[in-house]
């Protein structure tokens, strides 16, 4: 007995049979022609034939998922007596056109022969555009826990097909992303979440709510995935709380995609949802939109003012002759804001409102109290403590 035909072989046969056909082929013909189907279809009973038919339907769906453009077209058979569904893969939809680069820089591969070009078409790209495309894919590939890492790699491989062997994923790139501990585990979670997001399927997971120290079960309709400051976040509609929420992927346990009715979407993403609204938020800007914001004026001494300006912290209100700057902040979360200003070691001060400035001084006194208490316990004396700054 011959070895069983593997799934890969079956798929390859099916693609080979359908690709480049001018006229679509009806199912009966496919059942006769593709060996893996034929051996069961031709000799089997009705039940076996139905099983093979279902196998073909599944193959077709999975191959489409993998990006194989199998078309379904009507075909007239029996001299017009019947119209049946038929299939083909058009060569122009399947094969990658030739890539040609123009411009001085950039390696141009061997020019394809004219005949080949006509058959598959070609696309001309500026070499600097190609460089951006390569870099973009390389960034995705190397970015910690990027869910479509494998696809970024295969896309890069395809784009570099005509352009020499050394343009694949370059591990020697000087632009590097340091993986955090546990990055692989995070990647598998982000992958599940991105699969759910793309199929619009809900996900369930246990979430370690770090603020309250509680584990809760969540059922979420994913709206978007955001990589920010080294962490992945899921933004979605939390069914149990009936509200839009942000979840840090690192605090989830085993997200499970809803496998019921895989071809049917569980939800729609509201048209007003925009992931951009979650970008570029500092800790003090987080929180829901209905929370009150506080406008704070902060004076950055020179040269820290240059750093604040370069990184776009707050909005410039006033430049002073000594090079310092007063910048305005919209603060939603007071505590992280005060702590951030505290970490600037006196190089930035809150000018207004007065109450917020007093809160900052209170925080500074709390810090001093901690150090004084432990120094007293250990019997050491601080030289800079007690408010006597040099």
């Amino acid at each position: 007995m011959a070895d069983a035909i593997s799934k890969t072989q079956r798929w390859l046969d099916l693609i080979a049979f359908l690709v480049g056909r001018r006229y679509p082929v009806e199912v009966e013909h496919i059942m006769d022609a593709v060996p893996a189907y034929a051996e069961k279809y031709q000799e089997g009973d009705k039940k076996a034939r139905e099983t093979v038919r279902r196998m073909f339907e599944r193959d077709k769906d999975e191959l489409r998922e993998l990006g194989i453009p199998i078309e379904t077209l009507p075909k007239v058979v029996d001299y017009g007596a019947e119209v049946v569904q038929a299939y083909r893969i058009a060569g122009k939809d399947f094969y990658l056109p030739y890539l040609k680069l123009i411009g001085d820089a950039g390696p141009v591969g061997p020019a394809p022969t004219p005949g080949e070009e006509v058959r598959h078409g070609s696309m001309v790209l500026r070499s600097e555009d190609m460089a951006v495309a390569y870099e973009s894919l390389s960034t995705c590939y190397h970015m910690p826990s990027f869910p479509l890492k494998r696809e970024a790699s295969s896309a890069l491989r395809k784009l570099s097909f005509d352009l020499g062997p050394h343009l694949g994923i370059v591990d020697s790139s000087p632009v590097l992303y340091v993986d955090q501990p546990g990055a692989e585990e995070i990647r598998s979670r982000v992958r599940v979440l991105s699969d759910a997001l793309l199929a619009r399927k809900r996900v369930r997971f246990t979430y370690h709510g770090i603020r309250r120290g509680e584990d809760t079960e969540r059922d979420v309709a994913p709206y978007g995935l955001l990589f920010q400051r080294g962490h992945w976040y899921l933004i979605g509609h939390d069914e149990t709380r009936d509200a839009e929420r942000v979840f840090r992927v690192g605090r989830m346990e085993e997200p499970q995609l809803n496998t019921k009715s895989p071809k049917t979407a569980d939800y729609e993403i509201p048209t007003e949802f925009s992931l951009d609204e979650y970008r570029h938020r500092d800790a003090w800007e987080l929180g829901s939109d209905d929370e009150q914001t506080l406008e704070a004026q902060v004076r950055f001494e020179f040269p820290t003012s240059l750093w604040a300006e370069r990184n776009g912290y707050g909005v410039l209100n006033e430049k002073l002759p000594d090079g310092s700057q007063v910048r305005t902040f919209e603060v939603r979360q007071i505590s992280p804001f005060l702590r951030w200003i505290l970490s600037l070691e006196g190089r930035a001060r809150i000018e207004a409102p007065a109450q917020l400035a007093e809160s900052l001084r209170y925080l500074a006194r709390e810090v001093l109290a901690v150090y004084e208490a432990s120094a007293a316990a250990a019997g050491t004396v601080s030289t800079a403590g007690g408010g006597a700054h040099e």
């Binding site: 390859l12 049979f17 960034t139 970015m143 750093w307 001084r361 432990s374």
Partner: protein, 321 residues
Amino acid sequence: MSERGTAGQQLERILYLLPLASRDGGVPLSEAAERLGVSVETVQRDLEEVTSRAFYHPAGGTDDLQILLEANHLKIYSYKKFDRPPKLSGREMLSLAIGLRAAAVEAATGRASEIRDMAHRVEVELAVTSADEEADRFALEEGDGDGAAVRALLKEAARFHIRCRIRYLKPDDSEPGEREVDPYAVVYGSGKWYVIGHCHLRGDIRAFRVDRVLAAEAMDVAFDVPDEFDHAAYVAGGRVFRSDAEEEVVVRYSALVAPWVREHGPVEELEDGCVAVRFTTADPGWVVRHALQYGPEAEVVEPFDVREMVVAAAVAFLDDE
């Protein structure tokens, strides 16, 4: 999962391998393996899937694939079939679209619209399905604040080995200083970008935080990266170190903030739910600022001089009293 992966991954490799080996001269197995990011053995197994299959022959004549494997060199003769890789799949295009969007955000205004136009052309001509809408569901925010132009310049300088003049602001300096730097690597770790390179002012390798590079310009000078340079020597536990002269600083965190601290890496568990972390750093100032971000919930335990730095920083907020 083994290197062979799923049937889908194997099919993807085969549909790339066939056209690769169909080109004039074929392809060495080692090159095919390198391009596919798998071992030569996996390529050979992939090839077995192809050789053991039985094609239907529409023309009824010759086999549509002839495979020649000689001394680790693969050549395939195909009759107008599988002589090109497939177009980009939906997910491949999606990864490209997500990357290009991030690149457009980083780019200068005019260039950003060019990148978006290019993404659209690629999508129309090279991809099976559109990824445009789904790409909006993903966002990569690589930056640490503004200053995308500085970051882009440093990355390019590192790629093409071009010396840079940077205006760098160390937190304790009274004004920014000018330095000439050969950027060996631009590294993203713990949500921040760093440049690791040879500093001509110090005559040694240094790590610079990109958010403290106020301005950068490329110089008309090329440099070589020394063979012995290894960025890994400056990276550990997901963090980038500033130089190799290090000091140990111990920070104690209260039970209130301990859950956040545990998320960042290994900790020593103390009584009452408190935790301690031992940092090895060449820049104690970094630890001071780090501890202050936790307010009274973090305390530098040792050494004494770093404790003093924290106290001085807190006092600075009170000296107008």
